[in-house]
Symmetry: C2
Subunit: 392 residues, 2 copies
């Protein structure tokens, strides 16, 4: 069925249990869908833009209050909304990194962290992971020392993911930040898998910047993200324009340079705004999410030959698993080859895993009910048994 | 009425004739609304992301074809979608401008042009406008010479608006580009008021870059925009990452640096995609839009004391008008003061003009029917007559 022209009507979460690693925290709430429909037209949120003419000052829809509440909720002095977490990385790197400057990045980081430094012509140095796939404060401190030796100055920034996208492992952000601050290195806390998923408050973290993703973890349409900063850093990263036309003398008020004037517009911001009450509430129920996740993780773990590559017990609903010794063995002789697994899941109404993947793959259980989790767990066990695998 | 939580249901174009200078080209088509609803969830468009894992290669929804068609439609080699025209400015400036580098900008340009240079720590030099508010090729050439004298090199870029946001005047982009190219200065054609509104094809223009706005002029949700480039410039502005992890050796495929990996996601891109057939069609009817505009402009012009500040006859539906000698005279003694005009318009179902504005203001007639234009014209005349102004 088409929704418009040649565009298929999307049927994903409407008809299936979705395990997609990146999608489950970004499904819209009913409130977000209604707000998006109401405010979908291009420049809609600018209806009531008054002096000083900046989007985060607009009172209807209540964007001014939202930005203030967002900052408070994250335990930060100020917050802005941006078109995606990557644009927050760009804004921070754009403030602190010049050509040839070193930046330290945890080696499990998303590629957009690296590219935000590349765009500034900065130089990335990585913090290695341990053999059990964690970034530690010790490794961070060592690499700061290495950078000082190499560049004769500390790194201009350090990026650390609280929960990384590769394993969904939780890293010692507090320890890493403490180490970085001993060298006066500002730290960007990458919370794209935590902000909107579990409680995140900078009073417990001590970062200079918190970055979150609306479409990944705050039930908002893409592209949407959050950049929050301490009072000290806010003055830098949210600096207002000093530009003046050389002939006209034109000036541009309190427009912010790093965001090129106004924060996030349109459908993504109203969606984020409308979902915010539900998002603030849901982070308090993360333990239930983990319990549901455990049902599926343990089921997979019980299939002989399967390895949970993420830390165990799990601290996040995003998990990486290796089924080379189980489902992939089946795939070798199955007439559908590697597609037997996604095909069998699909028949049972489960989606979101890359079709054909039977070796190493990821899944995210966020947002499902206990009943759905049990159903998914049972389905995996059933597929394993049907295909002659042993359940331990 | 609330649409969700504390957010008002928006009632603008649903209940009124809207004259808002920035909104009328960005109203969604029915197709865009339907597609947005279907694809509203966070990472929806990534359902079918396959190798080489880049958003503009996705075939369902048909983003790959869309990006190719967009480039062809604009007469350019390549096109990308971005979260707003300002992000296209940033991407181009980020490619060519380093600290202290000069950039020439037409002095009627939007503030985001200036800020995209400020973000690179570049230096803006303005091209002056003539007394009738035009940017000319002669002035551009003179200012290139001035920059060479001052900086010992030509400007790194030149930005020119085809139709500026202040007067809606049309500028000699072809002549300006020809002049700039004599000095090998790359030119960014700012088409935020033209792309999606009237026919724009680089074969007639000769720019290095064309920038358009989805939410301003392509019936798409915000934030959305287009950056198109010639083959030569595409290699630069759409360069792929060369980043490599120093410890891990990680590389990031064909992700593009300037856009930090992927082009526009989510509701804005599906909206833009769904509106595209209607947008391609509507640009062929711009003469009818101008004829409707003329009905209102001429009515205002006939009110004694009113001046049309934009060029006349009009070449665009965005018009700046000075009613200091007409409606503002009424405001002096009216019990509602300056609000009498917006109040009277509102009673007749006309919206989009800043409340209280009776001196210099702008309006945009794009997208209305002839009947609506006649109604708006009659309403202005009626308000004028009711308040004792003379109609010539």
């Amino acid at each position: 069925m088409k929704c418009a022209g040649s565009i298929d009507a999307r049927m994903r979460d409407e008809v299936s249990i979705n395990l997609d690693p990146i999608q489950v925290g970004g499904r819209l709430t009913p409130e977000a869908m209604k707000a998006m429909i109401s405010w979908g037209d291009g420049y809609s949120v600018c209806d009531n833009c008054k002096k000083p003419f900046r989007l985060d000052y607009i009172e209807n829809p209540p964007l001014k209050d939202f930005h203030a509440e967002l900052a408070e909720w994250l335990g930060m002095a100020q917050a802005r909304t941006v078109p995606g977490a990557r644009r927050a990385f760009q804004q921070v790197a754009g403030t602190y990194v010049e050509k040839g400057d070193p930046v330290l990045i945890g080696s499990l980081a998303h590629y957009t962290s690296y590219l935000s430094v590349e765009i500034q012509k900065g130089i990335v140095r990585e913090i290695p992971k341990t053999s059990d796939n964690h970034i530690t404060a010790e490794a961070a401190a060592q690499r700061i020392e290495d950078v000082i030796t190499e560049f004769k100055c500390p790194p201009k920034l350090l990026y650390i993911d609280h929960v990384d996208y590769q394993f969904g492992n939780m890293h010692d952000v507090k320890g890493i930040i403490k180490a970085a601050h001993q060298y006066d290195v500002p730290v960007l806390y990458n919370g794209v898998y935590t902000v909107g998923i579990m409680p995140v408050n900078n009073k417990d973290i001590g970062a200079d910047f918190i970055v979150g993703s609306g479409h990944k973890s705050m039930a908002a349409p893409a592209p949407s993200g959050v950049l929050a900063a301490t009072e000290e850093r806010a003055e830098e990263v949210f600096r207002t324009t000093k530009m003046e036309g050389d002939l006209t003398g034109r000036k541009f008020g309190i427009k912010e340079v790093g965001i090129i004037g106004c924060s996030l517009m349109g459908a993504p911001i109203v969606g984020m705004l409308a979902s915010f009450p539900a998002v603030k509430e849901r982070v308090n129920h993360f333990e239930e999410e983990l319990a549901n996740s455990k049902i599926i993780v343990d089921a997979l773990k019980s299939i002989d030959g399967t390895k949970i590559l993420s830390e165990y017990p799990r601290k996040h609903t995003l998990t990486r698993v290796d089924t080379s010794g189980s489902f992939d063995v089946v795939a070798q002789t199955h007439k559908k080859r590697g597609f037997f697994l996604s095909s069998a899941l699909s028949k049972k109404g489960i989606t979101g895993i890359i079709a054909g993947a039977t070796k190493v793959w990821k899944f995210n259980t966020y947002g499902m009910t206990k009943k759905q989790a049990e159903y998914v767990a049972d389905t995996y066990l059933e597929i394993a048994e049907t295909n002659g695998l042993t359940i331990n």
